[in-house]
């Protein structure tokens, strides 16, 4: 969206100077993309919205770290991903809430059971890095380089995650590739 870039740059500039109105407009403009991405990372919508809100707050506090040429959406999604990773590690440590995080009960990988899974549930079976890569580049309209920027991974690793994720999704959904 090249036409949005000057406007976005202007909003970022004003937000950096302390304009709450400019920052709220940035939130308004990018919340759908960020929430969509975060909702694919964590299955519970309330958790996802909290995480997305926290990501925007962190972005507000670290706006000076936003490099020119990187879109605000990429910046916030990167923060959200790192927060999701941290949350995931915390939930994994507590163990008991792991199934709540996934919104799933543990399931076997037999094709008869997997074929009944919804696409979203199948997505939740993927490791978080593969899920994030597939969410960004297959479900979303992000380029591979944008995804690499968001996930903080090399481009080749992102492509590999997408490939593996797609293969696993096909297998989980019981559909031939």
């Amino acid at each position: 969206m090249p036409t949005d870039l000057p406007s976005q740059a202007d909003l970022i500039q004003r937000a950096r100077q302390g304009s709450d109105e400019a920052f709220s407009r940035l939130v308004n403009d990018h919340q759908q993309a960020v929430r969509g991405f975060v909702r694919r990372l964590c299955a519970l919508p309330d958790d996802a919205d909290d995480l997305a809100q926290d990501a925007f707050v962190t972005a507000w506090a670290n706006l000076h770290k936003l490099i020119d040429g990187v879109s605000f959406r990429t910046f916030v999604c990167g923060i959200a991903y790192r927060k999701a990773l941290n949350d995931r590690r915390r939930f994994n440590r507590s163990g008991a809430r792991d199934t709540e995080w996934h919104g799933l009960t543990p399931q076997s990988h037999t094709s008869t059971v997997d074929s009944r899974l919804t696409v979203q549930a199948a997505l939740a079976q993927l490791p978080i890095d593969q899920r994030a890569a597939v969410s960004l580049c297959v479900a979303g309209d992000y380029s591979h380089s944008e995804a690499a920027e968001i996930l903080g991974l090399p481009l080749g690793t992102v492509k590999s995650h997408i490939q593996k994720g797609r293969e696993k999704l096909n297998a989980l959904l019981g559909v031939s590739s």
């Binding site: 709450d20 709220s24 694919r40 919508p45 919205d49 809100q53 925007f56 999704l169 590739s177």
Partner: protein, 105 residues
């Protein structure tokens, strides 16, 4: 399954799609920002006050004797200055009445 098919499936199965512009979401973000700003300001004020208190705790034992000596020496001058200021203020307030007696100040 082609990438387009998988993309279509993922899009169709999106969990509770969020609206393009959700005002309540934006308000929640701005509330959290205000709360964070308040906490940061409070932390800053508390830190500044604590630093000042520590500084006074360290400095005052050394300053107190000097301040007492200075105060004792300066008391007559302060009293004189205060009396002069009160007289000047009284005269200033009495200007209309004095003008009645033909005294212009």
């Amino acid at each position: 399954m082609s990438e387009d098919t998988l993309k279509a499936l993922l899009m169709a199965d999106e969990p509770t799609p969020s609206p393009a512009r959700d005002l309540s979401f934006t308000i929640s973000v701005m509330q959290k920002i205000e709360r964070r700003r308040l906490i940061e300001n409070m932390a800053l004020c508390t830190g500044a006050c604590a630093a000042l208190a520590v500084l006074l705790y360290i400095v005052m034992p050394h300053l107190t004797p000097g301040l007492i000596t200075l105060g004792q020496a300066a008391t007559p001058a302060f009293v004189t200055l205060a009396c002069l200021a009160m007289a000047a203020f009284g005269l200033y307030q009495m200007r209309p009445a004095l003008r009645e007696f033909g005294i212009g100040l």
